[in-house]
């Protein structure tokens, strides 16, 4: 797991991988990963008891260009909302309760990941 170097894409994937493990540990059931339609992509879709949880994962090496949460701009947040509804519609889950979470991931000097999970950010 520990690596000296990640490309940008690898970093993102590694972060998402880490988060899905973390969430499963917390008792969430992963329903889908990297669900993608024309409008965009949802990183992780899980189920927390009766609630569908859409997760946006942002991975950073440092905070020099803002924290991972800063990277979720209002436009991106709106897109997430739209995508979430689209997924519910296509998955015949219409009417079920849902929420959107953001997870920030930092690659630290030890080569491991720090995770901060913010629930229901929208």
């Amino acid at each position: 797991m520990r690596r000296a170097y990640y490309s940008l894409k690898e970093l993102g994937n590694a972060g998402e991988e880490e988060v899905s493990k973390y969430l499963e540990q917390k008792g969430l059931r992963i329903l889908d990963r990297n669900w993608r339609i024309k409008d965009g992509e949802i990183d992780l879709i899980c189920e927390d008891e009766e609630t569908i949880v859409f997760v946006e994962v942002k991975t950073r090496r440092n905070n020099l260009f803002g924290t991972p949460f800063d990277a979720i701009t209002p436009e991106k947040a709106f897109r997430l909302q739209r995508l979430a509804l689209a997924w519910m519609a296509t998955s015949r889950r219409w009417g079920q309760e849902y929420r959107i979470d953001a997870v920030g991931v930092w690659l630290n000097e030890l080569g491991t990941f720090d995770i901060e999970h913010r629930k229901a950010v929208l």
């Binding site: 924290t67 949460f69 800063d70 979720i72 209002p74 947040a77 953001a102 913010r118 629930k119 229901a120 950010v121 929208l122």
Partner: protein, 508 residues
């Protein structure tokens, strides 16, 4: 602690209202919401506050920040909310304790480096704060001088956000020394003795100062209309502490208090240019309704040179303040009231080319041009002007006279004596000056003596005087009587009044 509350004040006119700044920091994506009718300058506060916090060594909460300014219906404006918002944020993030800030109001604009900057209107704000029972304030250090005029409010001047935070942490609010109301000392290089000759115009000005009569000077260019008007404040009685505070408050709101000096007791002199707009004249602005020239001239002189050249409507916008002594300005954001009790001095050339005086030999204007020129000053406005005085070019004798004319101090002494007489007479009345005696009272309690009244009635009979003119002449008569120390205007006083009033058959 994620919720905090800090108090500050906002001004509507020269009245301050307490505004509560609440900050809530909640989970969620980083964001900043400002609630409570903020204007553009206030919206920008987010970026100033963020930079000021970071550059003062504090961290910006990387969460959802909601700032609410209540009462929500009151429009908020300007940059003086920066400091209270920053302090409320620091309480919410746990840097400062809530208790240390209770009971204190915070006012100030922040620089990006965290420095605290001068804001307008601190003086009236603190006066209102005192009325609300608030006795502690933290303000920018540059505003301390005016703040020290408000006794009983312990204002602490801070130079930066960091200094404010240290102050709140240490709990030591240093008492400032209150400025004693200044000595009756005037810094004015202008004096009436600079004016050569102009006996008639000087006299008209003196009577105007005694009774609060508005005045119109007519004369060719370069004869001293402006000189005379500029010196009018020096013959008015100096402002009382109460009035000086009121005048300073208006100037503080306009942000020009430093130009005049806090608590100056010389009545203000304001001379808007004739191309000035109505909002500049009576006050205006979109969110911030700023005082106009009429309010800056409160308790002093409003001088409009080249009055007939004024844009249509601007002169007539003076009618409401002339009538009521205040201006009411309504905007979508609400209604603002500013005091505007001034002595109006208008100056005009006799004709477009300006040379139609004396024998008018060098005048190049047609008779119609001449007649139309002064008609640009509307009838209703002229009606409110009691005195019309000609200012003629001084003669060679007057110019070569080595002895200066009478000084302002001498004239002012007479004005103040005369005003004492009228003040005694109007004790318990709603008005204070001769120019404001209501017509009914003029006929009932304040009639002139018998032969003077006979003269006035004769003038009425011969239709040389309207009913309104009749009252104006009587008021002027009272001012002339006061100047001479007469208990009642006599025939001579009324004759003088007729001259002052009617010196301009050319016009009406």
């Amino acid at each position: 602690m994620a919720l905090s509350r800090v108090r500050t004040m906002t001004l509507v006119g020269i009245e301050g209202h307490v505004v509560e700044v609440e900050v809530d920091i909640s989970e969620g994506l980083p964001g900043y919401t400002l609630l409570g009718l903020p204007d553009a300058a206030l919206m920008e506060s987010r970026d100033r506050v963020r930079s000021a916090l970071v550059n003062s060594g504090f961290s910006w909460p990387n969460r959802r920040v909601t700032v609410s300014l209540s009462p929500a219906w009151l429009p908020k404006k300007g940059s003086n909310f920066d400091l209270p918002i920053a302090i409320a944020l620091l309480i919410a993030t746990g840097e400062v304790s809530q208790e240390s800030c209770d009971g204190t109001i915070f006012i100030g604009e922040l620089g990006l480096d965290g420095s605290l900057r001068f804001v307008r209107g601190v003086l009236p704000t603190l006066v209102s704060a005192l009325r609300e029972g608030i006795v502690k304030a933290v303000i920018p250090a540059e505003n301390l001088e005016e703040a020290s005029l408000v006794h009983n409010v312990g204002s602490t001047g801070a130079t930066s956000l960091l200094a404010t935070v240290q102050l709140m942490k240490s709990g030591v609010t240093e008492e400032i020394e209150f400025i004693k109301y200044p000595e009756r000392r005037e810094v004015n290089s202008k004096d009436l003795e600079d004016v050569a000759g102009q006996k008639g115009a000087r006299y008209a000005l003196e009577i105007a100062a005694i009774g609060g009569h508005h005045i119109l000077f007519i004369g060719p260019p370069g004869t001293g209309k402006t000189m005379l008007a500029e010196r009018a404040p020096t013959i008015l009685p100096p402002l009382s502490n109460e009035l000086a505070l009121e005048v300073s408050a208006i100037h503080s709101v306009a942000g020009i208090l430093h130009e005049r000096g806090a608590m100056s007791i010389l009545p203000p002199f304001v001379a808007p240019h004739h191309t000035t707009t109505s909002p500049a004249m009576v006050g205006g602005g979109v969110h911030v309704v700023r005082p106009g020239a009429v309010s800056l001239a409160h308790e002093g002189i409003l001088f409009i040179d080249e009055a007939p050249e004024c844009t249509a409507g601007v002169l007539d916008s003076l009618r409401q303040p002339l009538e009521s002594g205040e201006v009411t300005i309504s905007r979508s954001s609400g209604t603002t009231r500013y005091p505007a009790n001034f002595l109006l001095i208008l100056a005009a050339n006799p004709c477009p080319c300006g040379r139609f005086s004396g024998r008018g030999r060098s005048c190049t204007c047609s008779s119609i041009q001449i007649r139309r020129y002064l008609q640009k000053i509307s009838g209703p406005l002229l009606d409110r002007i009691d005195i019309r005085a000609y200012v003629e070019a001084p003669t060679r004798v007057e110019m070569s006279n080595q002895n200066p004319g009478e000084s302002s101090a001498e004239v002012r002494k007479r004005v103040m004596e005369a005003r004492e007489l009228s003040a005694e007479r109007y004790k318990g009345c709603e008005w204070k000056l001769n120019a404001h005696i209501p017509p009914r009272e003029l006929r009932k309690r304040f009639a002139a003596d018998r032969s003077a009244m006979a003269l006035l009635h004769a003038e009425l009979d011969s239709e040389r005087l309207s009913a309104r003119g009749f009252h104006k002449v009587m008021r002027l008569g009272w001012s002339i009587a006061d100047q001479k120390g007469h208990a009642l205007p006599n025939r001579e006083d009324i004759e003088g009044a007729l001259l002052l009033r009617g010196g301009m058959d050319l016009l009406l």
